[in-house]
Symmetry: C2
Subunit: 290 residues, 2 copies
């Protein structure tokens, strides 16, 4: 274990388990915040939530190659471990767990965790290997640290629902805590991928949230799902998005498309500004009068 400033940087599972065992002996509640680094205010909100609910917080940093498709941005994904350590140190985080590739995927590695249905729509259509990679690495991180709570953002809403499902289905003894998306003042959801946007694209980007919000408001006012979805998609293209992967209204838990709002729902979209794919989502509260 390397002591850097006041935070411990841990690279191996046995060292991580020694640390968590010592905390557990003191009856301390442990939180895990999994990240791929390049920390921004969105991650910091997750860390703050973890610090509020638990005594000890582990932030993990692992850029997981198995959740990137062949033509995706693995090689250019932002990477700044020293900067991340400084941020976490200042927040009073106890451990940065940054395992090596060999620690996560040793020779002969052959196991994967799959979640059906939830992974099949939305981003699953456009990123076919993504969620198997996510489900497997998150299962590993949860079982390596066995935290009381693991904190994830609602920004990756489909991912959050998949993780809730797999934790429940595999009986992982952890509470999955979802934290609302942190946004820039103009509404753009914070994302490490925002760094790819040109200044011109950055100006157009907040349209994604504005359109989602407008559609959610319309749905809550009782307007028709199909029409609003189509209007939302058209508006994104008019506002400068080059391609819309999807713009859908889904049940908030199962993520099955809905044609009427009968229970809590979610509007979710993925769209390109140039080469950068942005995703975002917005809750839709079911009208109690229905």
């Amino acid at each position: 274990m390397m002591q850097t400033y006041g935070i411990s940087v841990i690279r191996t599972v046995p060292e991580l388990r020694d640390q968590t065992a010592a905390w557990r002996d003191e009856d301390e509640r442990i939180a895990l915040v999994p990240t791929m680094g390049a920390l921004h205010e969105g991650h910091i909100a997750l860390v703050r939530r973890a610090l509020e609910t638990c005594d000890r917080v582990i932030v993990s940093l692992f850029i997981n190659p198995t959740q990137f498709g062949k033509n995706e941005d693995l090689s250019i994904y932002p990477h700044d471990e020293i900067g991340d350590i400084e941020i976490l140190e200042e927040l009073g985080i106890h451990v940065l767990y940054a395992p090596t590739m060999e620690e996560m995927y040793p020779d002969g590695f052959a196991t994967s965790v799959r979640v059906s249905e939830l992974t099949e729509g939305l981003c699953g259509v456009f990123r076919p290997v993504h969620f198997a990679g996510v489900a497997t690495v998150v299962t590993k991180l949860l079982l390596q640290s066995l935290p009381d709570v693991a904190v994830f953002g609602e920004k990756d809403y489909q991912q959050l629902q998949i993780i809730r499902r797999l934790a429940r289905d595999l009986d992982i003894p952890v509470l999955i805590d979802g934290v609302p998306t942190v946004r820039e003042e103009d509404g753009l959801a914070l994302s490490s991928r925002n760094a790819y946007l040109s200044p011109r694209e950055r100006v157009m980007a907040p349209s994604l949230f504005k359109v989602l919000q407008k559609v959610a408001t319309g749905l809550q006012a009782g307007e028709e799902v199909q029409g609003l979805m189509e209007a939302g998609k058209r508006e994104l293209l008019k506002d400068g998005f080059s391609k819309v992967d999807y713009f859908e209204v889904c049940d908030a838990e199962t993520l099955k498309p809905v044609s009427r709002i009968k229970a809590a729902a979610r509007v979710l979209a993925a769209a390109y500004l140039g080469k950068t794919r942005l995703i975002d989502n917005h809750p839709v509260v079911a009208n109690r009068g229905d």
Copy 2:
């Protein structure tokens, strides 16, 4: 929790966790012995091993439907919970964990654990859904009880290697302990499925072990792999087996077929006596002089 004789019968995960938490507070080592019931001397050997290495032993009883193929024997699989409880009580077992179907696979269940390569040869060819079902249910049982040790028989050797692999790959904090196969005096490996054999088939059944043993002895004496495999298969058919699913020599860890014995290997076979499919295997020690 139902007190039956001196053993507790537990049906739900929360009750199981209350029990294991109490044991862990006392620093007691916990073993899990997963079974599908219909306990025989083979299971009893697993339970005895668990009692030797741990302070507390949980035996699970769950006939897992997801590991049976459509045309397999799920509906007639032997079932005798009262008899099993009596056996375990006499052995001094602390808990029988016999969850309900709803507890294991609640509505909306959607997650599976897959192990590639190891699951693809041998029985994986003939029972295509079997090992995904096994891997998923064993992961669940391990995470429900989080034992220090889980005990499995070498009789299901491919299953044992798959479980070792998934426990390592998913970082499940458990030691997987493999126990040598228990046999009748005539060599037949104990199995709940032996109950399906007619008296005439029962007389022929020990040939499976004898042929495996003979092939292993030949391999250790330096005889050629391919020739021995073919001879073994022919001998089973001559001895009354109606069909041989496979008769193979594989690396003892990866289960990849080998054409020469360079490291620890295993001879594995599956063959039918009438409608009953029997499996067995035998170790092959690598000749140190090679």
